[in-house]
Amino acid sequence: MASADPAQYQRVHALYSDHHHWLNGWLRRQVGNACDAADIAQDTFMRILARREVPELREPRAFLSTIARGLVVEHWRRRELERAWLETLAVLPASEAPSPENRLLFLEALVVIDRMLDTLKPAVRQAFLLAQLDGLTCPQIAQRLGVSLATVERYIAAALRHCYALRFGA
């Protein structure tokens, strides 16, 4: 995943040694603890390394904090999902609780789904979840949401199109 271009690598390296400390501090103020801040700082540089090219930067800190801010949002989103997951597990009867290994797998899959859903418009997301998770048909969803059947079908198609773009990039 790291770029093969040595000049590119040099640039990221310089960015790291000049601003890593600053970024850590900035992130600590955002997320409130050193551990998560260090993780996100690391992820920020991984993100940059994975890019095809890093431009010459006039304002490297603005560049870094833009990428890091996106990761902070993802961080909180994931936290929220983890809490919801734990709450869901908490009310399950012991006999239905998944095994520890499965818990991890399920949570990872949920993180992927959740991230995908995040970028859908609320109405599209709602319709798609009713179809996908509640097993409702389009006419049932149309009735539930008080919109036309054609609208619901358009929503579901839009959600699938979006999933397709994320997975296959077109």
Partner: protein, 338 residues
């Protein structure tokens, strides 16, 4: 139908470019076949489309993989988790927006410090706590749990070795369960009501006793409701309100204001029926507030203090087309005015 779906051709490299019009067509078939009730004729038409070109079949197969992430998690778990996360985020967004808007609308500032704070220490068994009309009171239990009693309420507490139990005898309470560190959080937490028992699961919730039913509103975590006469237990989740009766639990309608704001001394809401607001306010004062039919359906929004209901009534009279008439201190009517 699944056997038909399974008959897709073998995997192909995912890098292949498939024209987006064909992808759109494949997605349209998914919607027709898997999210509707297709007729045999629809299936027939689909088969013809799929076999018409190799690209069609490959597009169909690719689109089928999109739902694999969902298939990786048991549906119930996915549904509960995603819904809970969604509700929580929604409440956060609404909470911020709402609070700001309400402040702008009412022009009223929230003042605090009028609640009775009463730490009770580490007693295992605590005597009943009660409030009079217009009073509120906060009780802290040994496990870290905080119970706030609303106006005209009574509850008792039983902290035993094997369980923690609050009995709601009258009125309304808000419970924020403690971590129960001395017992590593292992003791179950129960709230007993005349219409059923509630099992708290690391949570904040409001329980309100009414005629023949109890209202359960969950602000954090979840509450499992067990109707008194048996029947199915139901889980109330974040942001939800339920009626629990002897014979079962049903979803409760939203009254236009949040169910836990009273603990901050206010009723805050948007688009509340005036009659509902007045009924709510009258719980905080002795006597009664009668609301004339002509103004019962007026819609009001804002933050209304429950501590000084006379002042709140004056404020309503200034901001709404109504007149407040005092026959005695305990007999107030609200009617059309101005």
């Amino acid at each position: 139908m699944n056997t038909k779906l399974a008959r897709a051709p073998d995997a192909e490299p995912s890098s292949e470019e498939i024209p987006s019009a064909i992808i759109d067509a494949a997605i349209a078939w998914v919607v027709k076949l898997q999210f509707n009730q297709p007729t045999p004729a629809t299936w027939q038409a689909f088969e013809e489309w799929r076999q018409a070109q190799g690209l069609h079949a490959r597009a169909w197969q690719r689109v089928q993989t999109l739902r694999q992430d969902f298939a990786a998690v048991p549906t119930d778990l996915a549904r509960e988790t995603l819904r809970t996360a969604e509700t929580r985020r929604q409440m956060k967004r609404d909470g911020r927006r709402q609070a700001f808007k309400l402040l702008m609308l009412s022009g009223a500032a929230i003042t605090g410090g009028w609640l009775l704070r009463e730490p009770l220490g580490w007693q295992r068994l605590v005597a009943d706590a009660a409030t009079g009309v217009g009073e509120q009171r906060t009780v802290r239990l040994g496990d870290g749990t905080v119970v706030v009693l609303n106006t005209d309420s009574a509850a008792s507490f039983d902290m035993a070795a094997a369980h923690r139990r609050v009995v709601l005898r009258r009125g309304e309470i808000m419970i924020t369960t403690g971590s129960d560190q001395a017992y590593a959080g292992l003791r179950p937490f129960w709230v007993d009501t005349p219409f059923g028992a509630l099992q708290a699961l690391g949570t904040r919730f409001v329980v309100r006793l009414e005629d023949g039913r109890v209202r359960v509103s969950v602000q954090e975590g979840a509450v499992r409701m067990h109707p008194a006469r048996g029947g199915e237990a139901v889980t109330a989740r974040v942001g939800e309100s339920w009626w629990l009766r002897d014979e079962g639990a049903t979803a409760a309608e939203y009254l236009g204001f949040r169910q836990d704001d009273w603990a901050d001394g206010v009723i805050a809401g948007r688009n509340m029926r005036l009659a509902d607001l007045l009924a709510e306010l009258s719980r905080y004062r002795k006597g009664r507030i009668a609301c004339d039919q002509n103004v019962a359906d007026l819609r009001v929004s804002g933050i209304y203090h429950v501590r000084d209901t006379d002042q709140t009534l004056r404020f309503l009279a200034q901001t709404q087309p109504i007149r407040v008439r005092y026959y005695t201190r305990f007999w107030v009517t609200v009617e059309a005015g101005r």
